[in-house]
Symmetry: C2
Subunit: 401 residues, 2 copies
C-alpha cells in the first residue's frame, strides 16, 4: 500500500481536473496500455445501472483493450439514451486521441446520478489527459486521485512476481463508497498487469480476485448502479504464462484487490471501527459467505461495535437468519481472540476487559465457527465491514438543497 | 386501535409483575380460553432460536389449545437444555393451575438472552396471574403491557364480524422490537377469536395475516431468536364457519395483524418517520416483496428520509439489486404522490417543496411501479419501515456494563 508503487511495463496513467467538480479537484483519469491488452471486467448486478456499465460490459472480455477512461463528479446514471451516447462519445474521443479503436476503450463514471454529463468539459479534457500520461508513481497517484469522490485518501496497491531474472507487476487503483447525498455508493477499481493472459484467463483471474475482496466488503449492503472493476493484462513483461505462473498471478491480483477493498472499508464514511469477520466450518464457501454477509450487514451488530459491546447475541442471531442450515448447538464465537460463545451457549469471559479493548482499538475481529454436526464442513469466508455510527447517519441524512 | 377493545367470547387475560424485571414493571402475561381452541403459530426462522419457540412450535397446530403464557424481561434463549426444561415447566405450571394438559399451553419469552429464567419467581407468579384472569378491556391491556420490553405503548387491536344477529370478534395484542443491548429485536403477537376454525384453517388464516403484516415490517432486517405469533380460535361464538365467513375471518385477522405490525413500526426506537412502501406492476407478489424489503432495509434510503431528502436514486437503485428481473427503463416512482422518476429517468419536480413536506410530516409514502416490459405484471406488495436516525444508533450502541 506504499505510494511508491510501480506501474507494470507498457502502462501509462494520468489524472487531472477538467471542470466537472466545481471545487477544481481532479475528476478525469486515464489508464493506457501502449500495446493491445486482454481486458476483463466485473460489474454491478444492479438492474438500474449507469450508462458506462452498459458500454464497458459490452466490450469485455477482449484481446484488444487499450485504455480505461474514468470521470468522477457525475455518474452518468439514470440519464437515458443521452447518457449512453455520452459514454460512447467519451470512449471514441479517447480512441481518436490515442489512435486506437473505440471498442478498445472502456469507461467508468462516478458521482451524482440523474444529471447529464458535461460533454464539452470532457471533450476539452480528454486531449489534455492524454498529453499528461506518464509511467511514474506520481502519474498513478494522480490517476487514483482523479477517481475519488468523497474518499479521504487515494487507494493504490502493487505486487511483484519474480520469474528467473524477470519481473511481473500487478498494480491497481480504486475508489470507495461515496454515499453523501445525492451520490451513490460507487466502487471502482482498475487492475493493470504486464503478465500475458488470454481474455478468458484475465476474466477468470479478475472474477476470483473480486469474489474474495470487493465482493467481501459491505458498508451498508447498498449495491451501487456503477460498481465496476476492470483488468488490463498486456503481456509486456514478455514471460509466457505457465500453469504455476498463472496461479501466482491469480494470487497477486487477489492480494491487490484485497488491499484496495480493505482500504475502502478503512475509508468508510463516519466509521470508527474496522471489522474482520471470519466464518469457518461450513459445508461450502457460499454458505460461509452468506453468514459473513448477514453479520456484516446487521445494523445491530455494527452499532454494538460502535458501542464497544461484545454482544455475541446479535452476532450469532445474525448467523441464524442467513438461511444456511446448521446445528445451533454447534456454533462458537470468538471476539478479538476471546471465546464468548461455545456450543450454542454463552461462555464466562471478562466482558469489561473485552469492551475496553474494543473501545481502544480500531480493529475488531469476529471468528464464528461451526464445530460439528451433519451440516459442518471445511469451507470458510472472510468479510470486512465498518461499524455504524451517528456520524454515518449525519453524513447520509445531510441534505443540502 | 382503541384501548376499549373487547375480548372474544370465552377468553380471559391477565398481566402482572412477578419480579423478573427489577424495576417492578409487569412481566407475566396469560391468555386463556375457557374451552379447547384450535391453536396455530408462526415462528422465527432463525436457526438460533429461544427455548419457548422450540416448545410452542412442537405443540401447534392443535385442536386442544387452552392458554398462552408469556414472560418479558428474559428471552430464555441461548440457555441450552436447562432453558428447554424451564420453558416446559412454565407450561406445566400453567396447566396444573388451570386443570388442562401441559401440551395445551403455549409459551413465549422476550428480554435478555443468555441468562437462565428465574423459575422461582415464575412458579410463584403463575398461580397469581391465573387468579387475576378476567375478560374486561383492562385485563387485555394489562396482559399486553406485561409483554412489553422497550415498547413505549401497549399494542392491541380488535375487529368484529356480524353474522345475522350474532358476532364474531378477533382481538390481538403484540409487542415490538426492543433492540437495546443486550436485548434482541423480538416481536410477539397473540390473536384470539371466537370463530370456529379447524387447526388447519387457523394455521392458514394466521399465516396469511402474518405474511401481509408482521412479515412486511422491518426496522433493521435483524430477525430475532424469539419472534412468534400465535392464534387461538375457540368457536365460542357458536357460528358455523361457511366459506364466505372464513373469508371474513381471514380478512379480520389480517387487519388486526396489520394494526399491530404498523404499531410496532410507529413505536420503533429512535425513529422520526413512518414509511409505507408500495411496489406494484411485478410478475408475482414474491418479487414485489423482495423489492419492497430491499428498499425498507437500505440504510441509505432510511437516512435520506431522516434528512427529508426525496432521493429517488437511492430508492430505485435499492430496487435494482433485489435480484428481481425488470426493465430499468420501465420503472417509475412517486414520493408522497409526487412523480419524481418516470420510465427510468428523473422527472422535474419541486424538490424543495417535497423536502419540506417530508420534514414536516411523520408519514412518508413511496410508490414504485413497473409500468411495462416483458417482466411486468399485476402483483403488488406493501411494506412498512422507519427511518434511521442518530438516535437509533445511540440507543443501539449504548452499552451499559
Amino acid at each position: 500500500m506504499s505510494s511508491q508503487v510501480s506501474l507494470p511495463q507498457g502502462f501509462q496513467t494520468a489524472g487531472m481536473s477538467c471542470g466537472i467538480k466545481q471545487n477544481g479537484r481532479p475528476d478525469l483519469a486515464l489508464f493506457v496500455s501502449s500495446i493491445p491488452a486482454s481486458a476483463a471486467g466485473v460489474f454491478t448486478k444492479n438492474r438500474v445501472c449507469g450508462a458506462p456499465v452498459i458500454v464497458s460490459r459490452s466490450r469485455v472480455p477482449t484481446s484488444s483493450g487499450r485504455a480505461i477512461v474514468i470521470n468522477s463528479g457525475n455518474a452518468n446514471a439514470a440519464t437515458g439514451e443521452q447518457g449512453l451516447r455520452d459514454a460512447e462519445q467519451m470512449t471514441s474521443s479517447v480512441a481518436a486521441t490515442l489512435g486506437c479503436g473505440t471498442e478498445d476503450v472502456l469507461v467508468c463514471s462516478t458521482g451524482v446520478i440523474g444529471v447529464q454529463l458535461p460533454m464539452t468539459l470532457l471533450q476539452q479534457g480528454i486531449p489534455s489527459v492524454v498529453a499528461a500520461l506518464g509511467d511514474s508513481p506520481r502519474h498513478l497517484e494522480e490517476a487514483a486521485a482523479a477517481m475519488m469522490t468523497t474518499d479521504t485518501f487515494h487507494k493504490i496497491s502493487s505486487r511483484e512476481i519474480t520469474v528467473n531474472r524477470s519481473r511481473i507487476t500487478v498494480t491497481g487503483a480504486a475508489k470507495g463508497a461515496a454515499m453523501i447525498a445525492p451520490n451513490m455508493a460507487t466502487m471502482l477499481g482498475v487492475i493493470m498487469t504486464d503478465a500475458q493472459l488470454t481474455p478468458e484467463q484475465a476474466h477468470r483471474i479478475l472474477q476470483h480476485g473480486v469474489d474474495r475482496s470487493f465482493n467481501c466488503i459491505t458498508v451498508d449492503g447498498h449495491m451501487s448502479t456503477s460498481d465496476t472493476v476492470l483488468l488490463l493484462a498486456n503481456g509486456a513483461a514478455g514471460i509466457p504464462t505457465s500453469e504455476p505462473l498463472e496461479q501466482e498471478v491469480t494470487e497477486a491480483v487477489r492480494q491487490v484487490c484485497e488491499d484496495l477493498a480493505t482500504s475502502i472499508i478503512r475509508d468508510a464514511e463516519g466509521a470508527d471501527h474496522f471489522i474482520t469477520v471470519d466464518v469457518a466450518g461450513f459445508a461450502d464457501r457460499e454458505q460461509a459467505e452468506r453468514i459473513a454477509r448477514e453479520i456484516c450487514e446487521s445494523a445491530l451488530v455494527k452499532t454494538a461495535v460502535t458501542g464497544a459491546d461484545p454482544n455475541w447475541g446479535r452476532i450469532v442471531s445474525a448467523a441464524g437468519y442467513a438461511n444456511v442450515p446448521f446445528e445451533a448447538e454447534q456454533l462458537s464465537l470468538r471476539i478479538n481472540g476471546v471465546q464468548v460463545y461455545r456450543a450454542g451457549t454463552p461462555e464466562d469471559f471478562d466482558e469489561a476487559d473485552l469492551s475496553r479493548q474494543m473501545r481502544e482499538q480500531r480493529d475488531v475481529h469476529f471468528e464464528l465457527m461451526l464445530e460439528g454436526g451433519p451440516c459442518s464442513g471445511s469451507a470458510s469466508a472472510r468479510f470486512w465491514t465498518s461499524d455504524l455510527t451517528a456520524e454515518y447517519v449525519r453524513l447520509n441524512s445531510d441534505y443540502t438543497t
